[in-house]
């Protein structure tokens, strides 16, 4: 089944303006503003976060937990994939065609999901350019790498992570019913999964928890590269947003990460430079722990330099 990845995540919140301020500062563009009723916030390729009021009648019912996520919409390559998913999932559950052309149902742990032909626009953008001895220069003479004014915009919705009450039930649903592939695994935690039409190390990961925790653990957008990730994250810190974890680099997936708390009640991550895998890859497995989760980790604290800042005048 040619599923590409998460296309859009829909949240039901109490305060639209806090969510809007956060997502715009994070770097998404508001493309469908509905004022106090919500808005849609897009990355460069059209993947998006949508906010609605918690009591919006158009939303599916919430989980009984603290999570504010109301629906995960998966993007697929074509109508044929939609048909194939409809055939497969209607065997044992209600599958609904919504008025806006989606196929909606629940997964096996009760998350509201939907499928549609992807809205992703094809991107044609440069990679991060670096100069490395022995290699052809990425940046020519006089092109400066440390540009504080460079734009830093999320390019595409990368992955989502759920807290799930039963990781085997959850993983089997995505593997057996939707043909996701395991790329790596933390023992007793959950697998990293990628769908058929995407080589990214993971678009979906899950963490086994008690049922009262069920919900979204975090979501992430891909940035151009590590420098852009550092730039975007530093700007968030400067604006007063709360860094939760990072910046650092994960082992599984190799992606750079920086996580922020958000008014969506979930971490919102910047990531960059994730591994790609195809059918030849054999998944690895380790127990989860700080040593396994990150190759290195920095903590953002106030700026410092040897000798201290120049003495305050006046």
């Amino acid at each position: 089944m040619r599923i590409i990845g998460p296309d859009e995540l829909i949240f039901g919140v109490d305060n639209i303006s806090d969510g809007r301020a956060f997502l715009v500062d994070y770097g998404l563009d508001e493309t469908d503003s509905r004022g106090d009723e919500g808005g849609t916030f897009e990355a460069a390729d059209g993947t998006a976060i949508t906010l609605r009021r918690r009591d919006d009648a158009s939303l599916p019912p919430p989980l009984p937990t603290a999570t504010l996520l109301r629906r995960t919409i998966w993007g697929v390559e074509d109508e044929a994939t939609i048909e194939a998913i409809a055939d497969e999932l209607s065997k044992d559950r209600d599958v609904v065609r919504t008025s806006d052309g989606m196929l909606a149902c629940k997964d096996d742990t009760g998350f509201e999901i939907a499928f549609r032909v992807t809205r992703r626009r094809k991107l044609d953008l440069p990679a991060e350019m670096i100069n490395s001895p022995g290699a052809k220069p990425g940046r020519g003479p006089n092109i400066v790498g440390a540009n504080e004014d460079a734009p830093a915009k999320p390019r595409t919705l990368s992955h989502i992570v759920y807290f799930v009450p039963d990781m085997d039930v959850m993983a089997n649903f995505y593997i057996q019913r939707l043909q996701f592939v395991v790329t790596d695994k933390f023992t007793n935690t959950g697998p990293f999964l990628r769908p058929q039409a995407n080589l990214d190390h993971h678009v979906l990961f899950m963490i086994q928890t008690p049922p009262y925790m069920q919900g979204i653990e975090h979501l992430a957008f891909h940035m151009q590269g590590p420098t852009e990730l550092m730039l975007a994250g530093s700007r968030m810190v400067k604006k007063g947003y709360e860094s939760f974890w990072g910046p650092g680099r994960h082992k599984f997936g190799s992606n750079w990460f920086w996580y922020f708390n958000s008014p969506l009640g979930t971490h919102v991550e910047y990531d960059a430079d994730m591994d790609l895998h195809d059918g030849d890859w054999i998944h690895r497995e380790t127990p989860m722990g700080p040593e396994q989760a990150q190759m290195f980790l920095f903590e953002n604290v106030e700026k410092w330099m040897p000798g201290g800042p120049p003495g305050k005048k006046d």
Partner: protein, 131 residues
Amino acid sequence: MGVPARRGIDAREVTAPLCRLEDLAEGKSRGFDPLGEGRDTMFVIRRGGRLYAWRNHCPHYDRARMAWKKDEFLDPTGSRIMCFAHGALFEIDSGECTLGPCLGQHLTAVPVEIRDGQVWVTGVYEPGLRR
């Protein structure tokens, strides 16, 4: 054994007031960094003429920081403390988590007192950043 405290910061008594009482707005929260660690490690809420002071550590994850933005520790209704990492909600007065990943667990209280119109942390205060 031989692990130095981060940037030389040890647990100690806080020797300066957090702020003046009149600087705390009714119904609002505010973060503080009493040991100068570069991050708010506690917060105070003023409500109904009383102060409630808690460590900025969510019981869900070790030393997890809770606000979504500087000083924003309350849910949008202002009636509960919220951890904006995964949405846990806590009672302002008891610090108990009533919904979310740390259900039934408690925030850690910070003893504070008011002297001459200033808000003081009493006793020894532990650093709050991850080591």
